[in-house]
Symmetry: C2
Subunit: 451 residues, 2 copies
């Protein structure tokens, strides 16, 4: 085999780390299934023209056969998907005749982005998404439910795995766009993109850029910066926006939607989250989201004490991404960037690789004859749902117990030379031990369950 | 969004089909965990020089940024992995200092092959693998355990999902190579490759090619064809090989290994598989496996009545794939080609998309006021572990029940206009219904569990 090295940006976990990631996936799956979401997977590749214009095109990975022939050249250029929203929208549009709406799906797959690797930024990473797409009309309740589902998933990750509490920061594209339109701004996209930099470059610099690059007046720029600085945990943000004196129908609509969403998600939190848990939801009008396809609610999520990591879960409402001329297919969704969370939490010592062993019982083996007996013991225990590893070597018992101990396995079963019709089972942590007749293996199960 | 079409060779399932695939993955995971295997995922890309020479190089997909710059050109060329064995061997070699051996892992990921798409052949498909790799020495028991684990997984898929019974066909590279060496044949690789075509082109044609292309004598070619035609369910194959009058130490070793493996897996089957189940294991000396890295046991698996589909699960022993000059890391593994099985079984009507709904209860909604009540009902039921979908629309009750019915959801909960402090729960299949006070929702759970 050729010399082997890690590839920058393509992370891999050790087995005990992967156990934690797998546990996180199980928690997320369980929560999303409780909320009535169904699982889906889409192909890893999309035609490049489906991907283009929905993200940063420079980050698209193209795929082609290493030894391409004439036949390949006739086919469309393929790229690896960079998120799960664009492929899902394409999937729904393609299969709309075969689907039952509203379609609520969760999807957990690797995505690929050719960006410069740095802490918490990867070229291949696992995303866990939920989305609801419906024909014609998708009421606002769906935005609320998506946020409630996500809130629950993040709360359960906090509660069950020890992940830091998460704070969801909400905004609304209609609110921002209506505000800009009310100010007489026409280049909405450039204004959004510039305001999105507030966190990184500060208010003064954003104002400067809005004047110099987007050609806003001093007053327009000032108000854009002012609205972006509004944050609140309650409905007081409505008053604060009104105080800026801008009027537009779209702004009213956005304010109303955002107020309704905040209210409902806050109430959900109060009903379902213990008071001492810091998981939270709030309005933050600086959240703009880079992607062009959002049309209403948008949000980002930060882990408390690890805000430097950036948003670990984001999403929003997209009314047109899956729609075509004939059928309107509005959608709303949320995505958890799981690899980013896991990787940094391991590095910072917040999450610890699971000590949990990969088996409950390790069956030691003396020789070929006891191996066959050992197998039969294993078969009985597995039927009882116990995870059993049979020693792959028949070296001395001490060494086999060492192997079990290294693997974190609590129970070792073994035969004694002098009595091959009985098996001994020892808890190698407590030292407690029982001897069980070969025809009475049920007792092994009882012993293990009682310990 | 651009015009959308399926991409040949990149299959996608509908939600109800994916449910079956997910169920299959859960069954496989459960079995492999009972056998003490731990889960791992490796990155999707490998440097092309890690992939090359271990499969069909023409099938490798290369990956590069669509808009590559100077920095990219300095990096190694990357390709998508075409199986999970080569990446796992690379992973073990790379991380050997951090792993506990023997490492028993299962891995379920998509792999990519740029081959001509046809029925049961895909360019992207899901594989479910198990492998054991150990430092220095890996006793033959591991080959036996891998086959027993796989046998159990395939048996459970048969038993729980209704997949056809599987027949595992075993051979051994040492046996074939020893036989060829005993015959004085020097070009082992070409002989293996030619004999591997027996199924497709027949015995006469294979003999002809062995003489014309591999330059074997008539007698050598005849014996190569003769041994490849030996099949048996018991140890009689040893005698049949001996009768061909060829002698070589490696042949003896191969015969002994294969006899031991067949014996143990047969005995396992007899102990664990009901007599009326046709799942089976046998020796078939025509099984050669195309891949260069196998060094001992090799096998392929066929579904009864669907042999035309080709092998659905294969693998073997590889003593050198993960090894380097300093450390020997022998391995043995088995792979299930899940997408191939699922896709063809759906098409042939053997597997049916699951009718199972994505939720247990559908909560209907009259208006904003009942929506908030409906949410609280959903929250209580979810805590009890019930999967609940709240109607995303507040159109009339009949339409909402229709939606629930279309989704296959059995229970609908709804509020009556005249009494908003009670909720009615109806089994829309049997028509049975209860009315429950809002402060006594426990009764909803009881009703659903009793139905």
């Amino acid at each position: 085999m050729a010399k082997i090295n890690p590839i920058s940006g393509f992370p891999e976990f050790l087995p005990q780390e992967r156990l934690v990631e797998q546990q996180a996936l199980d928690v997320i799956r369980h929560v999303y299934e409780l909320f009535g979401f169904i699982n889906l997977e889409t192909r890893t590749v999309e035609p490049v023209d489906v991907l283009s214009g929905n993200g940063d095109d420079k980050e698209i990975y193209a795929v082609s056969r290493l030894f391409a022939d004439e036949g390949d050249k006739k086919e469309a250029t393929l790229g690896l998907h960079f998120d799960l929203t664009v492929p899902f929208a394409r999937y729904v549009q393609q299969h709309k005749g075969e689907l039952t709406f509203p379609l609520r799906r969760y999807q957990m797959q690797k995505v690929f982005r050719g960006e410069r690797p740095q802490e918490g930024r990867f070229r291949e990473f696992l995303q866990a998404d939920i989305d609801v797409i419906c024909e014609n009309e998708l009421p606002l309740y769906n935005d609320i439910e998506v946020l409630q589902s996500l809130f629950t998933a993040l709360y359960c990750l906090h509660d069950q795995l020890g992940l830091p509490a998460a704070v969801m920061r909400l905004n609304n594209r209609k609110l921002l766009e209506g505000f800009y339109l009310g100010l007489g701004i026409t280049d909405i996209a450039s204004t959004l993109r510039t305001v999105d930099k507030l966190d990184k470059i500060g208010a003064d610099k954003v104002k400067e850029l809005l004047i110099s690059e987007v050609s806003l007046s001093n007053e327009q720029a000032e108000k854009c910066v002012a609205i972006a600085q509004i944050k609140s945990h309650d409905l007081s943000f409505v008053e604060k926006v009104r105080d800026l004196g801008v009027e537009h129908d779209l702004l009213d609509e956005g304010l109303e939607e955002l107020a309704e969403i905040l209210d409902q998600v806050q109430a959900y939190k109060e009903r379902n989250c213990p008071e001492d848990v810091k998981s939270d939801v709030m309005v933050d009008l600086s959240i703009a989201r880079g992607l062009a396809y959002y049309t209403g609610m948008v949000f980002e999520t930060f882990l408390m004490g690890h805000e430097d990591l950036g948003s670990i879960s984001s999403g929003g409402r997209y009314d047109n991404l899956a729609s075509d001329e004939k059928v309107k297919l509005p959608g709303v969704g949320a995505s958890i960037g799981l690899t980013r969370i896991m990787s940094v939490m391991f590095k910072r010592g917040i999450l610890k690789p699971i000590k949990k062993a990969t088996a409950d019982v390790f069956v030691a083996v003396n020789d070929m004859e006891t191996r066959i007996k050992a197998q039969m013991v294993a078969e009985v225990l597995r039927i009882e749902g116990l995870r059993v590893e049979i020693s792959s070597k028949d070296n001395n018992l001490g060494k086999q117990i060492q192997t079990a101990s290294k693997k974190g396995i609590e129970f070792v079963a073994f035969y004694k030379e002098e009595d091959q019709d009985a098996i001994s089972v020892k808890n190698i942590v407590t030292g407690k031990q029982v001897n069980v007749r070969a025809d009475d293996l049920e007792k092994v199960v009882n012993f293990i369950e009682a310990e």
